[in-house]
């Protein structure tokens, strides 16, 4: 794929403003990163068109990375990643288009204030472990860990932890397949 010569210039600039910035990173046009100081990006990362990455400034004033993106991560177009506490994408994660990953959500309990003006809930860390694949249009809730080498099907809503080596689909996401290390193959499971 042709990627303009300006990316080298942009990479030099980004290396100065990001918390950590690896080699051979490419951001497609329209990627917006708010407060890049708190974002750490590994080597060989690509982030698709119009992705929106935003970080809320930590109250404690620490300068540690809040969003950590590992090596060889590919993030699809129009993704939204919002973080208050921590969002960790480990190495070799593949994320499809239109995925939303947030570690906080809205409160709605007070009926006198509009929902959009109420404070956010307590942030819970989100962690996507090595080699996983997240399909298109997936929504990932706070306090979720997606285990190693697992697959999340398209249009799922993940609201609890997914164990390693499993395939999960649906709203809310249920595990439908798991890797059996004795049989050395993927077997269907009915988790209900």
């Amino acid at each position: 794929m042709r990627r303009g010569i300006w990316r080298h210039v942009r990479n030099i600039k980004n290396r100065m403003i990001f918390g950590n910035y690896g080699r051979n990173v490419y951001f497609f046009p329209g990627v917006r990163v708010q407060r890049p100081r708190f974002v750490s990006v590994g080597d060989n990362v690509t982030i698709g068109r119009d992705a929106d990455i935003f970080v809320h400034r930590p109250r404690s004033g620490s300068k540690d990375a809040i969003i950590q993106i590992g090596n060889n991560v590919h993030i699809g177009s129009r993704n939204i990643i919002g973080a208050r506490k921590s969002v960790i994408l480990e190495d070799n994660v593949l994320i499809g288009p239109n995925v939303v990953i947030g570690d906080h959500s809205h409160r709605y309990e007070d009926i006198d204030i509009p929902v959009k003006m109420q404070a956010t809930t307590e942030a819970g860390p989100v962690r996507i472990e090595r080699d996983s694949w997240i399909g298109a249009n997936v929504f990932i809730f706070p306090n979720v860990t997606i285990g190693r080498h697992s697959v999340i099907g398209a249009n799922s809503v993940v609201n609890r932890d997914i164990s390693p080596y499993s395939v999960a689909v649906g709203v809310p996401a249920r595990v439908i397949k798991k890797y059996d290390f004795n049989l050395k193959q993927w077997v269907r499971v009915d988790e209900r």
């Binding site: 939303v100 809205h106 009926i111 509009p114 959009k116 929504f139």
Partner: protein, 211 residues
């Protein structure tokens, strides 16, 4: 708040001529597509983020009716899709997350000799009550009224009315929680249906708080 582009006051002056009504301090980001702004009412402090497309298909192109009404303080996030043919009302203080689709028209399926996309339009209306929050990726179908202060969960499909002060999730959306005005707290709803009486109470309460 994100930095606004420096030319947005100029765009607002231009938009004041194009829209049916245009409030103060509106920020429509670059990349928003509105095909016929003459049929849109925009209230104060509205924000429409990029890649949103708003399509309006009036029956009579020379009429002056308002097809899409956006109240004050409405926020519409990235890559939403809104299509209005008849009446689509979004009241004050509504938040709409990314990738939400809101339509008030669909196709009839009656005639099997013609392709679906060429068949007649089925026109309805959509009403989203004040203070509501519509989470990521929802789809709101025609002829739906969402009450006041509702929360619609992520990736749900709303195809029937949602009573005021309730939380609905799933596809099709079902009410799982509602605000109990006697106990003054949010309670879980058992079963999918809400009794008529409760719905009525909620409606009355919403009118009371309107003043």
């Amino acid at each position: 708040m994100k930095k606004k582009k420096f030319w947005y006051p100029i765009a607002n002056i231009k938009n004041r001529f194009l829209f049916a009504a245009y409030g103060k301090d509106v920020y429509i980001e670059p990349g928003v597509v509105i095909n016929r702004p003459r049929f849109v009412h925009v209230g104060d402090h509205v924000r429409i983020k990029r890649n949103t497309s708003i399509n309006l298909h009036p029956k009579d192109k020379r009429s002056k009716e308002i097809l899409l009404f956006l109240g004050n303080n409405v926020i519409i996030s990235e890559s939403c899709f809104i299509s209005a043919c008849n009446r689509l009302i979004i009241e004050d203080n509504v938040g709409i997350s990314p990738n939400v689709m809101i339509i008030d028209n669909s196709r009839k399926l009656g005639d099997i000799s013609r392709p679906s996309k060429e068949q007649d339009l089925k026109i309805g209306h959509v009403h989203i009550g004040a203070d509501s929050w519509i989470a990521y990726g929802c789809c709101i179908m025609p002829n739906v009224t969402i009450g006041r202060h509702c929360v619609i969960g992520a990736l749900s499909v709303v195809n029937r009315d949602i009573p005021p002060y309730s939380l609905a999730i799933g596809s099709p959306a079902k009410v799982v929680k509602r605000f109990d005005f006697e106990k003054r707290e949010w309670v879980k709803v058992v079963g999918s249906d809400i009794p008529e009486r409760v719905m009525q109470e909620g409606m009355e309460a919403s009118y009371r708080s309107d003043g």
